[in-house]
Symmetry: D3
């Protein structure tokens, strides 16, 4: 009876996209449910998955909002 | 000092509704707070309730997005 | 397909008890599942409930660990 | 590797504002990440922060939706 | 920067085991992190995974504690 | 009415300690409650804090259990 919660930033995975697509969400749901079946023998229909999309400004890493942190990291690598 | 989190899909409970209504939310808040008072003697004003409404495509069950899972179940029952 | 999470402090509801009992947990599970059936017409077997018991020192209220906060409140009422 | 989740109601902190501002969110992210560095020596870049803004009608306290609870409290203090 | 939370009951996946093993946990962590890389191109080192093991009596399904629900289901299938 | 959840690995912050101490927890509770008062003007007694301590083997980063990930990082820095 697993419950899986996946939190990601609300952004596209490729240029021209501004959010996770329905197809990508379906792949996440399928993949993680299958993983629980493979590893722990949990039947597919006993697994719930909830995906939360979080606005970029609501996500922090490195003491900074996510976009500022990414910019800082990119600058460090130069 | 309980904290209750209720996650439901964002959909109406009757035809013509597309979301949980404010009245239904108030009933959930009242009911679960009363339950914690009745069972564990928690004072009403020490209970927090947060309701999350989750888009249908962000909810997975049976390895599928919720709508596809419901369609599959309905087909199986025929 | 609701998911309910109930967080309570790990303590007894009556003198001589140091934790929530299995009977109390069963009442919480039954009560909140029934509430979701009554208010939102969610079938019982589509509701998952998870109860988290949190150590007293891991719970904060009023800027203080829970026990210190309760002592402060009790002192204020005198 | 801490994960911090901060849930607040979606409302402004001053008249004329209807939501938490990006500046306030940045201050929350910075402050809580610094706190984990100060208290537990967690490096800034190992801390994730997620802020959830919750609609007023989805938040319950005292067995009531948040606005009704605040109105009740304000009336009691008169 | 995904955060994945996996909640499962504290029980073994095979006779003679009473809990999820460290190896099984490592497989869950590896599998779901890889899934986020494959589907959303999230670098492995930006994904956090937290596994919660929940006592059987703290998990509810079908309005019943998990063990009672399983027994009921098994009886129905006969 | 904020709710703050802080998840950290169950380990000591200094040699000879195997867990977060009660004093450190009290500092986290005090600090984050004060932060919400300073930034969003939330009264101290409307903020709940819950600290979750997670076993090292239940925490994943970089596709690995936390300890393996740390060892890998340390080796890379050499």
């Amino acid at each position: 009876m697993p419950i899986v919660n996946i939190k990601v930033t609300r952004e596209g995975s490729a240029p021209g996209r501004s959010a996770v697509t329905a197809e990508e969400k379906a792949l996440l749901i399928k993949g993680v449910s299958q993983l629980l079946l493979d590893v722990l023998h949990k039947p597919l229909d006993s697994t719930f998955v909830v995906i939360d999309e979080v606005e970029m400004e609501n996500w922090g890493w490195g003491g900074l909002p996510a976009e500022a942190f990414r910019a800082q990291r990119a600058a460090e690598k130069k």
